[in-house]
Symmetry: C2
Subunit: 420 residues, 2 copies
Amino acid sequence: MIRFYNGRTLEPCGVTENEIWVDGAAISYVGPGREDMPAFDRQIDLGGDLVMPGFKDAHTHSGMTFLRSAADDLPLHEWLEKQVFPREAKLTPESTGAFVKLAFLEYLANGITACFDMYYHTDEFARIARDWGFRAVLCGSFTVGNDWSELYDFYDRYNHGFGPLVSAQLGFHAEYTANREKLEYLSKVCHELKAPVWCHNSETASEVRDCVARHGMTPTKLFDTLGLYDYGGGGYHCIYLNDEDMDIFARRGLWAVLNACSNGKLASGTFHLHEAMEKGVKLAVGTDGPASNNALDMFREMYLINIMAKLRQEDAAAGDPALILDAAVSGGARAMGLDSCDAIAPGKQADLVRIDMQRPNMRPVHNVVKNLVYSGNPGNVRMTMIAGRVLYEDGQFFVGEDAQSVYRDAERYTRQIVTG
Amino acid sequence: MIRFYNGRTLEPCGVTENEIWVDGAAISYVGPGREDMPAFDRQIDLGGDLVMPGFKDAHTHSGMTFLRSAADDLPLHEWLEKQVFPREAKLTPESTGAFVKLAFLEYLANGITACFDMYYHTDEFARIARDWGFRAVLCGSFTVGNDWSELYDFYDRYNHGFGPLVSAQLGFHAEYTANREKLEYLSKVCHELKAPVWCHNSETASEVRDCVARHGMTPTKLFDTLGLYDYGGGGYHCIYLNDEDMDIFARRGLWAVLNACSNGKLASGTFHLHEAMEKGVKLAVGTDGPASNNALDMFREMYLINIMAKLRQEDAAAGDPALILDAAVSGGARAMGLDSCDAIAPGKQADLVRIDMQRPNMRPVHNVVKNLVYSGNPGNVRMTMIAGRVLYEDGQFFVGEDAQSVYRDAERYTRQIVTG
């Protein structure tokens, strides 16, 4: 058992001074210090530091670390056709695994305790998550080129084959890489499995325009019409949702996963936060892949979401730091089907992050939530715990592999693929 | 003497593998390892890390740390009138000093080796910079309420009274807090001293509109007409410069200091980077004060400048990471009159930052400049050196005062002013 004491705790009710006790993978107690304490394996004096639920990166492509700083500053089409696709064609399970490990190190260093991943070589990904103890939800990235009957196997395999930290959601890449027949088949699958459905949705203006030209309706309306949202789910990006789309999201309880940094770097546009808040659309936050961001940094995402809301509304009062922090830690968990990881409370999974409050950017401690959103950065993360296991602390990783060897492998495969 | 070896060096020509030797306050050698080495006091094996020139925060109000997270998410006018001005009226030299120290700790932790500061209680500010060994340039913040004949004393006092690390530039707050008589007087002063002139310029649309209504021309055109730019200088923010203003900036060699995070958080708007680059306007980067940012983080500034350029142009190819990095380290130095701190080269001041390349967000090392701009964060700063003195290393500050006592004082004065 582990005890966190003498600090602050970010609970659903706000920031408290409660202790946290962790027993195995779960939180066993949250409250004031008590006389009747069990025997602890470790007692952590927080010295005023904050313990918060881990960030949930609700949309990413972990394996794309090899394209960091190797594919930037190009128009979207050229970026995809010249820099991304030809290099992805060279990926093997081994090289993808090396790149995934690099991403996992970055998640841990940045206080991210779970990711919602869509990429290739999923067996390798799931194996590493299981072996390292990283919590991961796989989302199918099916396109017209795939046999969609494999969705059943995908769903079953990653929900049951790789232990308690690995799970899966039904998903496909996007409307523009699917067709009506495939989507109708998916509708059958999701009704049979009673499962939510996920995909990239309304990331660019042209994606929506082309869909309307093809189907006479927006992607959201099309998916809803086909019954894909009958059991929930949501979309990644969602920056070109129109009014009716937002209503569908709100009515169905769908999750809009915000990816502000990627949307900025690819010049795609800005999520309509004001309208989504007015309609009560449920929100989560993701980094997207490191080729289009380029960091896996939820502090920067939270900051940029709020900044873009203010600029878009031309109103310094726009945005909502508390709402966006909640989206980044709790919303993401619920979106990903990880309700047991959405908060610090007894019985919840111990997916926790210790935030160093002894850094100048966290002072004065006038409003911890605003400090996190407006001043925080990954350098404030002192510890990252997943399911009760400390995987990162004070710059060191505890994942059963040496960080330097992860870097070496990632560099070697990157040279082979990018410059080779 | 100190030797940096076995790493990377960001030189004007690009990233090299050269060693750096520091003798006293200056760099004495940059080049390959040599047999004929002097006796070093310390030899630092970089293990592949990068040494770069320190960031120059070319526009800030250091003393405003007390308003961090205490004055957010309000319309600009309400923010100033209700949250900022009444609290600033309570500032004393002692409390301002405590808040300045907190800012200096943050600069050091974030790799910032000099700041261009405009605020109150300047004697206290200059004394702390001198005593701590922090490099600071004071800019006058004169308004209609001041006696502008004190500009002479200000310029002389801070250029000569506080040692080699403290200097001053002529400056006033802004057009809307000055009047024509004061500006004409300043013109006389700057011609006598042959000195550049600085102020907030074109930060908001209404500022420019009101100036045109008052004077029949934009702030830039007005200042130029009055001869304020005859010896150079520049403006902070500059987001509403029109075409003619940009031409004046380019022709006069004036510096536009970009403050993207502040301009976003206050919903002021976006600098016209594309036009400035086309016209060859000289660029520097600043954080603005912690009340309107809220971090003092040049990584985030560099990122946001590029992101906003892409969004504004609706072109993922817009922006220029190398140009913006250069603005953040070298441009700022030259803007502030610190030409001796603008690069890593023999004879230049040893204002250096060690960037930790053993962090996952810095891998793979495909393009160091893009890694810094698109993936870097303050957690990557391992060491900050000013004039040959290590003031920050591996989380510890070496400024002659304990960080915890700085935090305590800042918290105490914050409570008195903000919540008292």
